[in-house]
Symmetry: C2
Subunit: 379 residues, 2 copies
């Protein structure tokens, strides 16, 4: 596996574009399209929030057969809590995109991110769509990465190449954060493309596995989004022997995909709303993974731990109090806590629960004055 | 029942004092004592955090027989995560207080609040104790209320009188917040006194019931403390017919005690670290109380909801996303959300889950720039 420059258009047969359609008052890009020139397998992982945005509900329906070759995503408006018209506009977005690309509406994944509860300005999408499609190009990956950003300060892309059955396979991706990042994959979007040939069921399995230690192990503010999704589109143009079982080729592909997801997940945390620190929390000595992860997440979501990190003010009492609040059988004597320096930009917190032999690692950012400023004014 | 001025020394037979012993660098009062001149029944409710401060463990032991007549509390240092010496100093504090008051060590409740993980400067307590005891007086309630404050901006006292079996009964109390306030009574202290005659088991029952809708239904930052406790001391000097069953007198007393707890709980929220708003969250339509309260707490602890309140920027999407993240069977269509104006100092958020007939109310503050400033620098 080799890291290379590029994003969603790095694999063979993918084109992309991003344009400004006027949803964002800033005039920045807010409409992106990623397209496979040939039919493709697409699988997704979605937010577990009971309240789901309209485009998410539609995309889950479209991906039931695991076939899709286009992803259209607007930023600046989540099209969530938007009632009947929200569902209608999501559907119309899929139909419009399909018409312009000459594919079926069910082959289109629709995604939105931004403010909740305001009507989606569909007319703007309708007007910009022909220009969006016309501009699809091999060099358009970065524009697509920019068009999905909300409060992100930097675009997030990643690409790797690897060899599978003697063929060069490429995986590319873009992602956005940056607040509302939470367990269960919450509040972020990532669109991953690959030219690998992979069986649909296996593709779903490998994506789910790659998402757990990456997008499902990051948190910015513990708030679970209504719009999060990660999709993985595989078009088979690398001509490798199709991956159909969980053997050696599966492991190679899984390792590369996990690398891509980890890279993007960490980029999301580093660019968390107002983030000034990157905090890695490692738990060991847990009875099982579930316990380890719940302890790690409790620490990661503690406002007292996060403000301590912001203030470069190490305080293991706050870490102990966070773990203790879960009701596990730990005491001052059995719980072991280690810190790296809080003065540095990267902080590592290690906690040994002394209850068993399993561990987990999660990543978070600090809670800064800018987090409050950003989220107090966002509208 | 009638609200009256005063605090812990309002009931018959209670004296109190608060002094500066030098734990706080500011020189503000940091050592308080509340004392019943006659033997008394005392019951307590304690944090559910697995990590418990040394004085809390000791006080739980002392209250096993539900007898105590003195509460000594220092602020500025939590005496938590302080190892063997922490336990020794807590014990020595009880012994010293008992000796000076000529009572048994087991009749002394010891309490600490402040920073975790730093050795308790016991010498300072030892030196100040004689002066603390000598100054015990009927007018000392307010000094005691001041001596337990940490980041609190205002002292918190409350008192009420009521008639029970033809006798005037008084309940008085003081409390402190102000960060780390959370479910399970977390991160606050309240010391309640009464001259009512109440059977010990009944006193425990009535306190537990009064704590649930008050101290257990407030949250500032969702962080559960290692030091929280509420104690209730009853010395019987009102000469009412002792309350021994859950009858009419019980209900009168319970109503008055709940009023005192609610008043102090709301004062704690209003004085939450950096708080600029008071937010009341009412849930209805839940299957049961547990579900209602978990929904209310999820909203109350959502940093996105709290920053929206701070920014006077109503956003019901954030409320919906918080409830949705719990995995209840709610959708955009079934969940009903109502707000009062976010521009005012008092905000009410009402959510109907449409799943059943039970409700719950919790109280919280907003997440402000000052919260981050206070907790980034606290040491």
């Amino acid at each position: 596996m080799k890291a290379v420059n590029g994003g969603v258009t790095k694999p063979e047969g993918f084109l992309a574009n991003g344009v400004s359609c006027g949803i964002k008052r800033s005039g920045k890009p807010d409409l992106s399209l990623i397209y496979s020139t040939v039919p493709a397998v697409t699988v997704g992982v979605f937010t577990k929030n009971s309240i789901k945005a309209a485009p998410l509900i539609l995309s889950q329906k479209h991906l039931k057969d695991k076939k899709a070759r286009a992803v259209i995503c607007n930023s600046g408006n989540a099209n969530c809590y938007t009632g009947r018209f929200g569902h209608l506009y999501a559907k119309q977005t899929a139909e419009l995109t399909a018409r312009l690309l000459d594919i079926k509406p069910a082959e289109v994944v629709v995604s939105s991110t931004g403010i909740i509860g305001k009507p989606l300005p569909y007319k703007k999408i309708e007007k910009a769509a022909p220009r969006l499609v016309k501009g699809l190009r091999k060099s358009g990956g970065t524009m697509a990465a920019k068009g999905i950003m909300t409060t992100d300060l930097v675009k997030k892309e990643c690409a790797v190449t690897l060899q599978i059955s003697g063929k060069k396979v490429t995986i590319g991706a873009c992602a956005k954060g940056s607040g509302m990042i939470e367990p269960n994959m919450a509040t972020m979007l990532a669109f991953i493309t690959t030219d690998a040939a992979v069986n649909a069921m296996i593709l779903q399995k490998v994506l789910k596995e790659a998402v757990e230690p990456s997008f499902n192990s990051i948190t910015v503010d513990g708030c679970m989004s209504t719009n999060d999704m990660v999709t993985l589109t595989a078009n088979g143009l690398a001509k490798n022997l199709p991956i159909k079982t969980a053997g050696k080729d599966y492991r190679l592909f899984s390792e590369a995909l996990t690398h891509v997801c980890m890279d993007l997940a960490k980029k999301i945390v580093r660019d968390g709303e107002g983030a000034t620190k990157f905090i890695e929390i490692g738990i060991k000595g847990a009875r099982d993974y579930r316990q380890a992860k719940s302890a790690a997440m409790k620490i990661a979501n503690s406002n007292l731990v996060k403000t301590a990190a912001y203030g470069s003010n190490p305080n293991w009492g706050r870490v102990g109090a966070a773990v203790g609040s879960l009701g596990f059988n730990v005491t001052e004597e059995t719980l072991k806590i280690h810190f790296s320096s809080f003065k540095k930009k990267n902080i590592r917190i290690e906690v040994d629960l002394n209850l068993g032999k399993t561990g987990a690692t999660v990543y978070t950012s600090d809670l800064s004055l800018d987090y409050v400023r950003i989220n107090g004014k966002y509208n």
